[in-house]
């Protein structure tokens, strides 16, 4: 079985000034994740390493670089899932954790639960020696300025979703040499979100899903729309019905656009090693590694290739 790893850095209207940094970020994360697979590591290990690299990169809205909620605080969501056992761990609305994906993994491995939220997730983090970091270390100057600029806009409860604000989500999917698939997704959510808002990222079947029988998916885009169609699970159900990874992703994103007017993106890997990176937003930074070839792109239809050193 030849190993594959795919990452995304969020599907949204990525402005030109962030374009290069986004592409560089996903390429680096994909290579880091793939090096785990190359050493014989598991798919779960690989997606965690790849997502940690993206969380540590301030270009992306996850971990360092997260957006601020209405109260100017950082609340993070993450999920990780092991396709071999369907074991899953997730955290929602956890405060000030540098690598929420690793906390999600601890929920999977060290508790009998699948998901911990808010203060309870922070208490668990503390109990296993993961300490919180000050908000200032997670929030960039750029984000603080954007937040200040936007915070007066919506005082009402119902806001319009503006894709420009959706500095979105990171994720990874992998297939290891033993044939196991896994996914991981992590996010700071959407800027100016209500306190306690949980988007799709931490929700099983929406932000991600992994099953050795069908494949692994990580999603990004307008969270509430992804939730409504349970996008990750929808893509895998189409694969179960015999569609290719590309067809399944395109059909499902199309359905999300038609039915609930939402745009987004997804990365998918199948147990046979087929993979796809698909989106209906203006852009999505993505990168994939298979057999020492690095693929990547940002604009629709873009698919660039680099040979990695053996």
């Amino acid at each position: 079985m030849s190993a594959v790893l795919v990452v995304h850095g969020g599907a949204w209207a990525i402005p030109d000034e962030l374009a290069k940094a986004s592409v560089d970020g996903v390429k680096t994360a994909a290579c880091e994740g793939f090096s785990v697979l190359k050493r014989g590591g598991s798919a779960v290990d690989a997606v965690e390493v790849a997502v940690r690299a993206l969380e540590d990169n301030t270009v992306f809205d996850a971990g360092h670089g997260a957006v601020l909620n209405k109260d100017g605080e950082v609340e993070l969501d993450a999920i990780i899932m092991d396709g071999r056992t369907l074991a899953t761990g997730a955290v929602s609305s956890v405060k000030n954790i540098a690598n929420p994906v690793s906390l999600a993994r601890a929920v999977m491995e060290k508790t009998s639960h699948v998901m911990l939220t808010s203060q309870g997730a922070n208490l668990f983090a503390e109990s296993i020696g993961i300490s919180t970091v000050p908000t200032e270390t997670l929030v960039t100057e750029y984000e603080r300025r954007e937040w200040e600029k936007h915070k007066n806009y919506n005082t009402g409860v119902i806001e319009d979703f503006n894709t420009q604000w959706a500095h979105d989500t990171v994720g990874a999917v992998a297939l290891d040499s033993a044939g196991n698939v896994a996914c991981a997704t992590s996010t700071g959510g959407i800027r100016n979100k209500m306190v306690g808002r949980v988007g799709d990222s931490s929700i099983i079947g929406c932000g991600g899903y992994a099953d050795n029988f069908s494949g692994a998916v990580s999603c990004t885009g307008h969270g509430e729309s992804i939730l409504k169609v349970t996008l990750a699970r929808l893509i895998l159900s189409k694969i179960e019905q015999g569609k290719s990874v590309t067809e399944a992703s395109q059909m499902s994103l199309q359905h999300m656009g038609d039915r609930v007017k939402g745009a987004g993106g997804a990365i998918v890997v199948s147990p046979s090693g087929h993979w796809a990176a698909t989106f209906t937003t203006e852009r999505m930074a993505w990168a994939a590694v298979e057999q020492d070839v690095l693929w990547y792109g940002l604009d629709p239809g873009e698919r660039l290739k680099e040979q990695l050193p053996q």
Binding site: M115, T117, M194, R197, Y209, S237
Partner: protein, 325 residues
């Protein structure tokens, strides 16, 4: 192995439209203690009447499932609202979800405290915010902003739930096993006269759960799902297992592939049992008004109302009927 409920209508020929409206409720899958059987059955039967009256009066399936679940939350016999189980610290944290099959709009709250009717709050998240899920203190902040009164925690705790909490603190207790002994989670699905489907599910969660534990109930596709193009499902049982197979969505995928409500429900529950060893139960409707109440656990209290007849049961294979008028 599975709960066996037969359509009362299967031996009566009728037009499809005769099947509308319909509402089906559950009061949780598991092993219900003997002394609570009667409370559980009378609770689901009373709730289903409420929902059915709303539907007959031309009300929407959303109104029907919410009012039905409010009644079950207010009933201390069930693990939702008043009567919720306690977390490891002896506190009440509740989860709930509603979903409208017409628009796929959905609202959920997780780990919310001091709210008498979390299902009502979930509906407000759907109706009044641009979000689909609010959690913990944020959900409570939103409740305050909507003018929903917070209630003292004691008003949600029964002697019974406190007793079970104490018992499960014993070093040899197994909360996962005793979870299957709960009179669990409540939920409802309905189809209104216009053919719109909706679901609602509410719970106090799992006995002696960690603080902040979120189970399947508020998770779209796991605790419930509703889509006019396929149907609506509300689930109950071991939450972590239900999440891992996204049970509600799985059943509806089977229905999209042409399976009946009954077959699809059984296939979903069978997958959960064979793949992960998990037990649970579901209530399912399709937009035409076919319904099923199925479970792999020993018991599930359930009731349905259709064509002025009430159906109800508790054990596998049990199916009683009674005129509603």
């Amino acid at each position: 192995m599975f709960g066996f409920t037969r359509y009362y209508l299967s031996d009566t020929s009728c037009q499809m439209t005769d099947l509308l409206p319909v509402v089906v409720v559950h009061g949780g899958a598991g092993i219900i203690p003997k002394e609570r059987l009667q409370l559980s059955i009378s609770g689901v039967c009373a709730a289903v009447r409420t929902g059915y009256a709303i539907l007959k009066g031309g009300g929407s399936s959303m109104d029907a499932v919410v009012e039905t679940v409010i009644q079950l939350e207010n009933n201390p016999a069930f693990n939702a609202g008043c009567g919720s189980v306690l977390n490891v610290k002896g506190e009440v944290e509740m989860d709930a979800i509603v979903m409208d099959g017409k628009t796929l709009a959905s609202g959920a709250v997780s780990a919310v405290r001091n709210i008498a009717n979390p299902i009502q709050l979930a509906r407000l998240v759907m109706d009044k915010t641009s979000h689909a899920c609010l959690t913990a203190e944020g959900a409570n902040q939103f409740a305050r902003s909507m003018g929903i009164e917070e209630v003292p925690q004691e008003s949600l705790i029964t002697e019974y739930s406190r007793m079970r909490w104490r018992k499960n603190l014993a070093p040899d207790a197994n909360p996962v096993e005793s979870q299957m002994g709960k009179a669990g989670t409540v939920g409802a699905v309905a189809v209104d006269l216009e053919g719109n489907v909706a679901c609602a599910t509410s719970t106090g969660g799992m006995l002696n759960k960690m603080e902040g534990r979120v189970g399947d109930t508020p998770i779209i596709g796991s605790g419930g799902y509703a889509d006019n193009q396929s149907g609506a499902v509300s689930t109950t049982g071991h939450g972590e297992t239900i999440m891992k197979i996204t049970l509600a969505r799985l059943i509806l995928f089977h229905m999209e592939q042409g399976r009946s409500v009954e077959d699809a429900s059984d296939l979903g529950l069978a997958c959960m049992q064979s793949r992960l060893g998990g037990l649970g139960g579901v209530v399912t409707v399709d937009p035409q008004g076919h319904w099923a109440a199925r479970f792999s656990s020993k018991q599930m209290s359930w009731a349905a109302a259709q064509r002025d007849i009430m159906h109800y049961g508790l054990y596998t294979g049990e199916h009683f009927t009674q005129s509603i008028n």
